[in-house]
Amino acid sequence: MANLLLTNRCLRACPYCFAGRELEPGGRGTSVSWEDAVYVADFLFRSGEDRLALLGGEPMLHPEFVDLLLYFRARGLHLTVFTSGMGPAATLRALEAHLPAFDGDTLQFVCNLNDPEQTPPARGEPARVHRFLTAFGPWVMPAFTIYRPDFRLEFLFDLIGQHGLTRHLRLGVAHPVPGAPSRHVSPAQYREIAGRLCSYRPLFERFRVKPGFDCGFPMCQFTDAQLGWLQRLCGEAARFECGAAIDIAPDMSLYHCFPLSRFQRRSLYEFDTLADVNRFYDRLRDDLHAELPGIFEECDDCIQRREGSCAGGGACHLMSRMIGEASVRLPEIDRALADVGVPGRARTD
């Protein structure tokens, strides 16, 4: 699945945001044009892909968000909207009015929610999020980004019950942005985080909420008992991946994921299909892993990593570690680093 950033404008300023310079917190931002929206739909059709994730910034800030949503649906795409829930009131009203156009599972919202105590919201934010969740609760999968080991999930279970959100919690960890300061979780904190997550076992079980991991969690940070519990709860083995998100910016530039947005940035117009894009960014990740198999020393010999059941943590951590080190890397990596201005690296041809 590809992610299309409808706009790079965002109303929130989350302390852990790893979208970095891709977003324009204030200002008017850049929005996807209709011409490019048609192009993306065509591109996905050509790729045999019928799913599209719409991101921002805050995608609902695109002035024609509802129209775009309906257009992509009319093109036969199943849509997932990643939102803060902070859409303009008029947009939410229009969205509500057109919700019947989306039958079955053709539209889903993933709403990234912050703990109001640990991440104090801006003025007016809770009311707006509340309005969104009230209107679209059954279409909303709650999501939470862990950026401190003492995170708290209680508020989420409240919201799930209060608004009838889907009982699947999407959990991500705050990633580093290589070469730029950002608040993130270090590899040393993962075991503590795994333990804290499993401490919410009673709530997960009582509310029948299934956790799912966004990319970057290493499997080894969970005990066998914890993994067994997760599998029983979810009905399937948890996945510990780090794949290319394939983010398409409003100007149709393309990158692996937010944290790696400065590396190997390309244009969508350079590729014929999504498979071509995936192959391209797989190579970037393979290059990184050839140099550093994973975020821990133990990753070198880890059988789960070799067999593909764990990615060995996020590639962004690997890239972060390489920045500032001596130039002994693979030429491909050095070129990627040089492209984003890391000193002492060989320039691209």
């Binding site: 209709w34 011409e35 739909a41 059709f45 309906l70 257009y71 093109r75 036969g76």
Partner: protein
């Protein structure tokens, strides 16, 4: 040889007087479309289509059940907001209908692309002011080269399909403006070569019966004069005469050249795009059928 299709008003008296003709009936209101079609079909004339220049956005129109089976040329000033149009898309696709939008409005260029991408045939018209030629070039390139299935956007599709180098391609017929294909009648049955001429009272015959056959028409001084008008561009060394895009324009916009200075680059690019499309198709990359 039969005469061209007659574009006439929905005037029962006139239609009754005509026999064995192919008619494109013009109505003022979308609500009159089905009735006009019935009127022609109940006469001994054949229906080409019903032409309606609606004054409301496409999204605001009621696409009535009785439009089924009626070929419709539907002119609208704009498409309207997509959210309002979206519910009509399946219906628009099912009807035998082509949407006409003036190319001089940037939002119409977007609408043409959206409609095409959703399987609704459409046509850009050039009667008004100067379009954004760069945006139009982009639309034309999409129309002719996009490998993903989409409905035709005329006149680009028509030109690309009919252009046979080295010869030039006429495309006025896509909007009923080629007298070799369409003659225009008023309620009294007077005949003009173009709608604009009919509205200005410039008629070539008081009655279509005065034009015996196609040969009579082809040699008619008014039609000959139109050909001469084209040669006059050469006579005057007009910029159109030395335009690289002449083969797919033929000076169509010569009168508005001062307000449309980008047309030469546009039509020149179109020739190259058509060449590219032929290469594409010769490599067996025919577009597959539209979906979903």
């Amino acid at each position: 040889m039969p005469l061209p299709t007659l574009v006439c008003p929905d005037a029962p008296g006139l239609i009754e007087r005509l026999h064995g003709r192919t008619l494109a009936v013009r109505v003022d209101e979308p609500e009159a479309i089905a009735g006009a079609a019935r009127g022609v079909r109940s006469s001994d004339n054949e229906l080409c289509c019903v032409i309606c220049d609606a004054l409301r956005p496409l999204a605001d129109l009621d696409l009535r059940d009785d439009w089924d089976g009626v070929p419709i040329a539907l002119g609208v000033p704009e498409a309207g907001r997509f959210r309002d149009l979206a519910p009509s898309i399946p219906r628009l696709r099912d009807l035998d209908l082509r949407v006409y939008l003036a190319a001089d409005r940037p939002d119409n260029l977007v609408a043409l692309r959206l409609l095409s991408s959703l399987g609704v045939p459409c046509c850009a018209t050039f009667a008004g002011g100067a379009p954004d030629w760069a945006a139009l070039t982009d639309l034309m390139t999409y129309a002719l080269l996009a490998s993903v299935p989409h409905a035709p956007i005329d006149p680009f599709e028509h030109i690309a399909d009919h252009y046979e180098p080295p010869f030039a391609t006429e495309w006025g017929a896509t909007c009923f403006a080629d007298p070799r294909c369409y003659l225009h009648l008023d309620e009294e049955g007077r005949v003009a070569l173009a709608r604009s001429e009919l509205l200005a009272g410039v008629v070539i015959a008081e009655d279509v019966a005065d034009i015996a056959d196609e040969a009579d028409l082809v040699s008619h001084p008014a039609l000959v004069e139109r050909a001469v008008r084209r040669l006059r561009l050469f006579e005057q060394d007009h910029p159109c005469a030395r335009c690289p895009g002449w083969r797919v324009c033929l000076g169509t916009l010569a009168d508005s050249l001062d307000t449309a200075p980008g047309c030469a680059a546009f039509f020149t690019e179109m020739l190259d795009v058509i060449d590219q499309r032929r290469d594409q198709r010769s490599r067996d990359r025919e577009p597959v059928k539209w979906r979903p």
